[in-house]
Symmetry: C2
Subunit: 344 residues, 2 copies
């Protein structure tokens, strides 16, 4: 389904004169990671596989690579995110081989319901086909807007779970190309416009707005449960791309100004069971915004995002998704290996 170009990786590692590397992989590429490790060792490079579960480029294992004496980190399956990396890091996105056009063709009537002026977004898996998709849609009579997105993403038109800036353009609705609910429901939550997800594998098209509205109702229920809470744990993650210390301090200050007890907690992987035993009655996650939204069923105490705290305290009226913004992006990354973190 995906293709990892092992020879290209070997070439870059050769240029880096790397003797030992750490390979980091998302769940879906574990076999590819192991094949890559075998291939690199056959070619004289010691390869260690990271067994820690990885959900995104916000969590590069560069500190671990350094501790293991590795000359480089290979981060599979996610595109580059601007972070201060401690070892040279190869971001190796996994581009899907599936053609996106048949699914668009099949769902043209549904896509038309978005309006004539549509925003087009996708994930790293299909980003290399975005221009083809745009041309196809323009030939079908649509005005297609591909948003620049900010510096947290790698390419124009790309969305990730915490950043939908590429979808925020002056369009009637948003067309998302890709599989699963995770990304397109994020689009609908962050953009609040008609959002259609077209899946290039199944060729299904699914409207995301009802799902998003249902999530927002559940979020209001969490906020309501936290109304009488006195003691808040405000949680940041030590993952590099989720360490939102300034925002956490702002939330603690707001809570304390409103007479609440608030205490800062830092942890790597944020999950409720590890927090059992502390004396807090609700939590605010100032890390990955998807934790309170997608993992809420596993929390036995109310769990909020920063904007939801503002709603709770009456400092805001409209529901807002907790997006993590980046700075300005200078240029698109290559459609291949992106090398970052090289010093000097």
């Amino acid at each position: 389904m995906h293709e990892i170009d092992e020879r290209e990786i070997l070439k870059v590692l050769g240029e880096l004169k790397a003797k030992r590397v750490l390979i980091q992989t998302p769940e879906g590429l574990k076999h590819e990671a192991q094949f890559l490790a075998d291939f690199l060792e056959e070619n004289g490079i010691e390869a260690i596989i990271s067994g820690d579960i990885n959900y995104g480029a916000c969590d590069p294992a560069d500190r671990e690579a350094k501790a293991l004496g590795c000359d480089a980190l290979i981060h599979l399956g996610h595109s580059y995110m601007k972070l201060n990396l401690e070892v040279p890091t190869l971001f190796v996105p996994a581009f899907a081989k599936v053609d996106v056009l048949p699914a668009l063709e099949k769902n043209l009537d549904e896509i038309k319901k978005l309006g004539r002026k549509i925003a087009l977004v996708t994930t790293a898996q299909h980003i290399h086909q975005l221009e083809r998709a745009r041309e196809f849609l323009e030939n079908g009579g649509f005005e297609v807007l591909v948003g620049d997105g900010d510096g947290r993403v790698s390419w124009r038109g790309q969305v990730i779970g915490c950043n939908f800036t590429a979808a925020k353009v002056d369009a009637d609705g948003v067309l998302f190309i890709g599989a699963g609910y995770f990304h397109p429901v994020g689009v609908a939550l962050a953009v609040r416009k008609p959002t259609l997800a077209v899946n290039p594998y199944s060729r299904d098209a699914i409207w995301m707005n009802e799902e998003a509205e249902w999530i927002i109702r559940k979020r209001w229920a969490q906020i309501a449960k936290a109304y009488d809470v006195e003691k808040f744990g405000v949680v940041v993650s030590t993952k590099k791309g989720q360490l939102r210390l300034g925002e956490a301090r702002r939330i603690i200050k707001l809570l304390r100004e409103h007479g609440k007890y608030a205490r800062l907690i830092a942890m790597n992987h944020i999950s409720y069971p590890a927090l059992e035993g502390f004396d807090f009655d609700a939590y605010v996650v100032v890390a990955c915004p998807r934790v309170p939204i997608d993992d809420v069923e596993n929390w036995r105490k109310p769990v909020l995002t920063p904007p939801e705290v503002e709603l709770l305290l009456g400092l805001r009226e409209d529901y807002e998704f907790d997006e993590i913004f980046g700075g300005k992006r200078d240029k698109n990354e290559p459609f291949g290996i992106a090398l970052h973190g090289v010093r000097g």
Copy 2:
């Protein structure tokens, strides 16, 4: 039950001119950690609590403290372990208030079954009462040997889950003072002499050797299950005190010399679910030796320690516990806060 001396901690932090600290705590001291954070903030020091589950001094959150901009780390509940620390770290053992003598007195007849010459060991919780216990037993006619232990522990006579060197003296049997099975069963596994655990809270005395023999039988069953395995994942932990890279390489070399496929995996918290999806048929944990022993029920593939691999390959005949040894210890730590990792 335990006492954390908050004023003493504040004093040391004052000497360090610390403005921001990270507090790390084992499960059982979460409330104390939170009280300490409140106390420090009342005294002008920003306190962040680590929400990551911590099982020992082998896993100091000094890297995390540094990433959070903290001037110091407070590590609650465990005694100092020699490691290269990146920020000044206060090791604050939690000494139990319970008197150990009544439990010894109640179980004198049982203790006599150990023989006349006994090794006396305990954990950090009761180490401050070890001399009292020794005197009591000597007055009762025993010859009491308190082993030095090596540099992985803080005091003479102290045992931790991976190091029982203090129990390895020329005695007839070992008397362990403390609660729970975890430490005394480790004594019995590592020393293979009659081992009696006297619990100062319940005042019960429990013989540990049957439990240890039962564990060893289960370990042989794991080894047997791994006999036909071709593909081994060899797992190290990135926790500072568990990063046994040299030992892992030795095991990989041994496995490959015997025609097996072996690949190095590095992860923080070692658990089976994170490893599902890799193509290995058995694992070797070269990290905390207690993971394969105490967590084996949660593994769906055979999981071995390094000496168990030697048994598997026919390089060793007798079962041996996978102990982690330290160098020589210069002196005992104080019975209170131990400050380490201060530069210059």
